[in-house]
Symmetry: C2
C-alpha cells in the first residue's frame, strides 16, 4: 500500500458533515444525506442545520464548530453567498476536504466570479482541497459512498469517470442503472475552482495504480472523461501517458466550433486550430477521443465488460447476409480486419452449418438458424487462431431464438478468453435478448456499426499500447538543449517586443535563421538599383526582389515578390516597380518598407514548417505542403514539441508532401534529413518565451539540400 | 385516379392463393396464411396443399388448377425445385402476379442459378410479374395485407420501404412495433429475378403520386431503401428524381470495401471507385445516402413523424450546458445553424427563465427546470421568426419532470407548425418520457448528435428540393449531339478493338484530340535525330520527347518523358537516351515503341479531366488536380455525364484546383472557359461504345488557354 494520498480523506472519508442538511425531501440538502446513508457508507454522518433537530434520523448540529469531532469531509449545500463564512468555520475545526454542491459562482457572471475567487484564495491560504463548486459530488464503490445528489451508480464495476458536467453524470447514472454497466468511481468537477481533472487522475494513479493486479477481469481500470476545458494540459498529458500504458482512457470535449471561430492571427494559426492540437495531443498519449456522447456510452460499455482484442482480426457471425456485408465495410473503415478462416476451421464449420451457409468470414448461419447453430459456429470460430475477436449479429427472423441465442453467447463467452460483442437489431423482441447479454456483461449494440466502431477504438488503444512498449520513452515536457547563440536571438526578440511590435521584419527573421545555422540564400537590403546590381553580380542570377516590412506577413498578397530576375533590364524594371509600391504602401501604413534582394534558389518541393505555442499543451510543430499549395492541399500535420529527428520523420511520412519528398513514383528522394534538421533547429527557438510562433514557408527541398527561404515570426503579447 | 398499373393486382389483390399452405404452425406456409388473415385482408384466401383438408379454417385445394376462380395473386412457399412446374399451373389458370418466398435459387450457387434462370425465362414468356424468390414478401396498409412470413408492420403511417434483405425487414418490423413508427408499404425484393426496386418505385409513383395531396401531415410519402445492388441505375435515377421533388428518399447500400478491392485498370479507375459514383449519383438526384443502419432507423423515425424544416436555423433548449455546447458543434458540422434569437424573444424568455439561465441559443433552462419552465421556453422560441426547428435536450436530473416535460412537448408540437425533435439522455428513467413522445409522434433520439445528424440530412433534402424548383430541368439520360467528325474516331476505335488492344497509342489519342478541335501542342513521331531537329526548328524550342506505345499508360513511370529540351545538344542526348530505352523496352514487351516529339507549352496549372463508363449509371466526368499532384492532392470530383458548361463550372468550383484556377489570392484567373470547353468536347466521345474511358492528364491551363497535353484512352472489352 503506498503512502496515503492527500486526497484520500476526500474520497475515502471516515466521517462526513453535510452543511445545509435539510428535512425537505426534495432539497439537495436532504437528498445528499439520504444518498450517503443509503449508499452503504460505513462512517459517521453529521448533518449541520441550525433550524432542524434531525435529518433522516440523524441528530443535527447547529453549526460546524458544534460538531463532536473533526469530520474528514465537509459537503456544502447552502447558498453561495454564505459559503466563505462556512469555510472559515470548517477550516477552524480542522477539516481540509470540502465538496461544494452549491451553484451561483463563476457560471452566473461577475458577482459569482468574485465569490469564487474569494473561495479559491481562502482555500489556498488554508491548504483546503475543494471539489466544485457547482458540481454533483462524487461516488465511489470500493469505500462505498454516494456523495452526490443524483441517482448515483447502482452497479459496481471497474470503470472510473470524471465529468465536468453534473447533467452528463445524471444521464450516465440512469443509463448505468438500465444496462448494468458498473463503475468504481465517478467524480463530477463543476467549476474546478480548486481541484481539476489532473488532481483526480493523480489520486487514482497513486491510490490504486491503474492496471495493477487487483483490477478485474480485463486487467485494467478504464477512465472515461467528459471535460469542457483542460486545466493543465501538460500535467494532463503526463498523467494520461502513465495511465494509458495499462488502462484505456477515452474522452469527450465539446467546443470544436467555438475554437474554429477564433480569429486567426496568421496563416499558421488557421491551419492548427486548438481543437486539432487537442486531438493530436490525445493521440500521442494514447487517449481515445470520442466524437459524440454515443461514443462515450459505447466505450463505457465495451471497456467495462470486455478486454481489448490482442489483434485487429474480427470474425463476424450473422443470421443475415445484409448486415454482414455492411459490417465488412465498417470493419475496414475502422482500422480492423476480417479474420481469414483456415481450412481446418472451415471443415469444422461445414459439419455444423447447412450447405447454403456462407463459411467465408463474415459467416452467414442463415435466417433459419436456431440457437444451436449459432452455438456451433461461435464455438468453432473462437478456436480459430486467426480470430482476435468475435462479433455476433442477430436479426429477429421468424425462427430466431433470441433469448436462447443470448444465453448461448453468455455461456461461450465464459468458456473462451477472446472478446465477443453483439448486435441484436430490432426493438421489442430483441430487448429480452439484450437483457440476458447485459446480465452476462456481454457488450451489445443496437447497430453493427456502433459495435465495430467501438471495437476499432479499443483496438487502436491496444495497438498504441503495444507500440509504446517497444518504442523509446518519449519526453513530452523537456525542451531541447540551450543553444549557445541564444543571446543574440534574445536581444532581437526583446528589442522588437519593447517596440510593441507583434512580428519581426525579414531582416531580423533572416538573422535568426542564420544564427540557427540554416541554409538561407544570400540576402541583402538594397537602397538603390546600383546596390541591387552589385549584389546580383556577386551571388549570380537569378535573384528575387521582395518588399520587407514589419507587420507585412503575406508579402505575396500585395504583389511584393518578383522572382526569376535574370537580366540587368529585368532587375531595373523590378526594382522600380517595388520602389513605387513601397512608396505607396509606406504612405498608407505607419511603418517603413525596405527592398530586399535574395539569391534565387534552384527549384524543389516547397514545404511549410513551423513552431507555435499552444495555450493548453505548451508548444507544437507543424509540417506540411508549402508555398501556394499550403492552403489548397490542406496537408499540415502537427505534433507536440519538441520531437527528435526520427519522430519528425514519422510525422513527415504521414503528410502528402512527405510522399512527394520520399521520391514519388520511383524518382530519387529529396533531402529529407536536411529538412528534418531545419525543424530540429527551429524547435530550439521554443526557449524564447517572447516568440509565439515561427513559420518557414517555404523550405525549398531539393535533391541535395533544404533552402530556408522565407521565415515569419510572431511575438507573444507583452502582457503575458 | 390514374389507369390501373400492371402491378396493382400484386399489391392490391382481391384474392390470394397460397401454394404450399401448411397446417404446421412453425412453417412458412402456415405463417403466411395466418398473417394474411390476421392483417385484415378483405379479399379471398385460397390455401393450396394436396395433403391438407384445411389451413386455419380455410378449405384447402389440392392443386392450383382446382381453384374455384382465378386469384389475383399467387404466393409460393414450396421447395425451389417444384416451383417451375407450379408456375405453369398458375399461368394456365390466368394468374399473372406471383410472390416466391422460397429460397434455394441464385444465392446457393450454380444449381440455384439455373433454376432461377428458368423461372425468369418462363415469366418473361408468359408475362408474369414475380416478386422474389428468396424474399420475405410485402405488406401494405392501405389495402391491408401482411403478405410476409414476418411480424409485419403493426403501425400504419406514411413511410414506404423497399428492402432487398428480408432480415433487415424483420429488424425494422420489430423496431416499428417498439417505437410506433408506421409504414404504409413495405416490400422485400429478395433475388430480384423479375421485379426490381425501380418497378416498385414506378408503381408507387403511378398509383399514389408521392407527395400528392392525400399524403399525410408532412405532405409527403418518404421512401426508405435497403439495396445491395441497383438493377438499372438509369431508371432508378430517373424515378428517384421524380420522387424526391416531393418526397424524401433515403438509402443504404453496403459493399463499399468490396468496391475498393476491385482491381484498378488505370489511374482514373482508382480515383473514381464505383461507390463514389453511387454517392455522387444519389447526391445529384436528391437521395440521402445513409452510412449505417442507425441512419436508416433515425431517418425513418424523423421522416415518418416530422416535416422537413423550411430553413437550417435550429433553436436548442436544454436543462444542461454540456450537451448544449456539444450540440452547437454538431449543428455546425451537419450544415445547420444556431438560430439567432431577437431582442423581443429575448425579453420574453427573460420573463420566464431564472437569472442564471442562458438566453442565448443554445438556451439553458438550468438543471432545476420543471416541465413548466421547458414549456415557457419552447412556446416562446417556437414563435421566434428566425427559428426553423426546435431541438429539446433533457438530462434526468434530480428535479427533472421527465414525463411531464414529454407531455408538454407533445402538446406544444400540436400547437406549432414547426418541427420539434428531442433527445432525452439516459436509460431507465427517460424510457417513460420516450414512450410519451413516441405516442405523440415526436421524434426522440438517445443522443443529441443523432437527432442533429438526422435533422441535417432532412434539411439537406429540403434545401436540394427548393434549389431544384429554381434550377433549369436536368437531363440525366440524354447524350450530347452527334459530332460530324465521328466517323474517323469510330474508325480508329474499331481498328484498335479488332486488334484486341485495350488502349490507344499516343498518336491515335492525339488524332482524336485534334478531331475534337482541342488545343494540342504540335506533335510528331520521329524516327531519327534529324527529324527531331527539323521539328524543333519549325515549332520552336523548348520541346518534349516521349516514348509512345500502346499499353504504356504511365509513361513518366518508366522515364519515358524528357521535357525542357532547348538546345541541339540537349535534343541529341535526349533522343539517344529514349532510343536506347525504347530498344530495351521493345525487347521485353511484345509491342513496338515509337519516339514522339512535342512542342512544350508554357507553364500553367495542371488539371486532370476524364470521362469514364460506369456499369450502373452510364457514364461520368472527372475533374481534379492533374500532373504529379493528382494523387497527392486527392482532389478529383466526379459527376454523372453529360453535363453542360455551367454545370461543369459548378463542379470545378468544388475542387481545390478550381480555387487555384479562379485566381488564388487575388491573382488573375486562368482560362477556365477553355478548360470547360475541353470537357464538353470530351463528353462527345461517350457516343463511342468502344471507349471505356478517356483521360487527359494534364490539361495545362494558362491565363489565356487550355493546352491538352496527354490523353489516355481505354477501350471497352470486346466481349461486351
Amino acid at each position: 500500500m503506498p503512502a496515503a494520498h492527500h486526497l484520500r480523506p476526500l474520497f475515502q472519508p471516515l466521517s462526513v458533515a453535510v452543511v445545509g442538511a435539510s428535512r425537505e425531501e426534495k432539497k439537495l440538502g436532504h437528498i445528499i444525506v439520504r444518498n450517503i446513508i443509503e449508499s452503504g457508507f460505513e462512517g459517521k454522518v453529521f448533518p449541520v442545520n441550525p433550524k432542524a433537530e434531525a435529518v433522516r434520523g440523524l441528530s443535527c448540529y447547529p453549526e460546524y464548530s458544534a460538531l463532536p469531532e473533526t469530520p474528514d469531509l465537509a459537503i456544502i449545500a447552502i447558498p453561495a453567498a454564505f459559503i466563505l463564512k462556512t469555510l472559515e468555520q470548517i477550516s477552524k475545526k480542522g477539516t481540509k476536504h470540502v465538496v461544494i454542491l452549491s451553484a451561483g459562482f463563476k457560471e452566473i457572471g461577475d458577482e459569482g466570479i468574485k465569490l469564487e475567487a474569494e473561495i479559491v484564495e481562502y482555500a489556498s491560504k488554508k491548504g483546503m482541497y475543494i471539489l466544485g463548486p457547482n458540481c454533483l459530488g462524487f461516488v465511489t464503490a470500493r469505500h462505498p459512498i454516494n456523495a452526490t445528489f443524483g441517482q448515483g451508480i447502482e452497479n459496481t464495476g471497474n470503470l472510473r469517470f470524471i465529468s465536468q458536467s453534473g447533467a452528463i453524470a445524471t444521464s450516465i447514472f440512469d443509463w448505468s442503472a438500465f444496462t448494468g454497466v458498473g463503475f468504481s468511481d465517478f467524480v463530477t468537477l463543476g467549476n474546478k475552482a480548486v481541484l481539476a481533472e489532473h488532481d483526480i487522475l493523480e489520486y487514482w494513479l497513486h491510490e490504486t495504480p491503474l492496471g495493477s493486479s487487483d483490477a478485474e477481469l480485463q486487467g485494467y481500470h478504464p477512465v472515461g472523461l467528459y471535460l469542457e476545458s483542460i486545466t493543465d494540459g501538460k500535467k494532463f498529458l503526463e498523467l494520461a501517458q502513465k495511465i494509458t500504458k495499462n488502462s484505456p482512457m477515452f474522452m469527450i470535449k465539446p467546443g470544436k466550433s467555438d475554437a474554429a471561430k477564433k480569429a486567426m492571427q496568421s496563416h499558421t494559426g488557421s491551419l492548427a486550430g486548438d481543437d486539432v492540437v487537442l486531438s493530436q495531443a490525445l493521440d500521442e498519449v494514447g487517449v481515445i477521443r470520442c466524437e459524440g456522447l454515443e461514443d462515450v456510452f459505447d466505450l463505457s460499455r465495451l471497456f467495462a465488460w470486455t478486454k481489448a482484442p490482442t489483434g485487429p482480426r474480427i470474425a463476424v457471425i450473422s443470421n443475415a447476409g445484409g448486415p454482414a456485408v455492411m459490417s465488412s465495410d465498417i470493419i475496414a473503415a475502422e482500422g480492423l480486419e476480417l479474420a481469414e478462416i483456415d481450412a481446418a476451421t472451415h471443415r469444422k464449420l461445414e459439419k455444423h452449418l447447412p450447405r447454403a451457409a456462407s463459411l467465408v468470414n463474415p459467416i452467414d448461419v442463415l435466417g433459419d438458424a436456431l440457437a444451436d447453430r449459432y452455438e456451433q459456429a461461435i464455438d468453432t470460430i473462437f478456436d480459430e487462431a486467426s480470430v482476435d475477436a468475435v462479433l455476433v449479429l442477430l436479426t429477429p427472423q421468424v425462427m430466431t431464438q433470441i433469448e436462447e441465442t443470448a444465453s448461448v453467447i453468455a455461456r461461450l463467452a465464459k468458456k473462451h478468453p477472446k472478446p465477443i460483442i453483439c448486435s441484436f437489431m430490432g426493438g421489442s423482441q430483441i430487448l429480452k435478448g439484450e437483457e440476458i447479454l447485459n446480465a452476462a456483461h456481454i457488450p451489445s449494440f443496437r447497430f453493427p456499426e456502433r459495435a465495430i466502431r467501438a471495437l476499432g477504438k479499443m483496438w487502436w488503444w491496444q495497438n498504441w499500447r503495444t507500440e509504446q512498449e517497444f518504442a523509446p520513452a518519449k519526453k513530452i515536457t523537456s525542451a531541447p538543449t540551450k543553444n549557445l547563440t541564444t543571446n543574440h536571438i534574445s536581444k532581437i526578440l526583446k528589442t522588437a517586443q519593447k517596440q510593441k511590435r507583434t512580428t519581426l521584419d525579414n531582416f531580423e527573421t533572416n538573422t535568426i535563421l542564420d544564427i540557427l545555422g540554416l541554409n538561407t540564400p544570400h540576402t541583402a537590403v538594397v537602397k538603390s538599383f546600383e546596390e541591387a546590381e552589385l549584389f546580383t553580380k556577386n551571388v549570380g542570377a537569378p535573384v528575387v526582389l521582395k518588399l520587407s516590412a514589419p507587420g507585412l506577413l503575406h508579402k505575396a498578397d500585395v504583389g511584393g515578390v518578383i522572382a526569376g530576375i535574370r537580366t540587368r533590364d529585368e532587375l531595373k524594371k523590378a526594382f522600380s516597380r517595388l520602389e513605387t509600391a513601397s512608396k505607396k504602401l509606406s504612405k498608407k501604413q505607419d511603418f517603413s518598407i525596405q527592398i530586399q534582394i535574395q539569391q534565387q534558389v534552384e527549384s524543389g518541393i516547397e514545404v511549410l514548417v513551423g513552431i507555435k505555442r499552444d495555450p493548453t499543451f505548451g508548444s507544437i510543430v507543424l509540417i506540411g505542403a508549402g508555398g501556394s499549395l499550403a492552403e489548397m492541399v490542406g496537408d499540415t500535420q502537427i505534433t507536440l514539441a519538441p520531437k527528435n529527428s526520427s519522430e519528425l520523420k514519422r510525422l513527415l511520412g504521414s503528410t502528402k508532401i512527405g510522399t512527394l519528398l520520399s521520391g514519388y513514383r520511383g524518382s530519387k528522394a529529396y533531402a529529407i534529413d536536411q529538412l528534418l534538421e531545419v525543424i530540429v533547429q527551429l524547435q530550439s527557438l521554443l526557449h524564447h518565451d517572447q516568440l509565439s510562433e515561427f513559420e518557414i514557408n517555404p523550405v525549398i527541398v531539393t535533391k541535395d539540400t533544404a533552402w530556408v527561404v522565407d521565415g515569419k515570426a510572431v511575438l507573444s503579447s507583452t502582457d503575458s
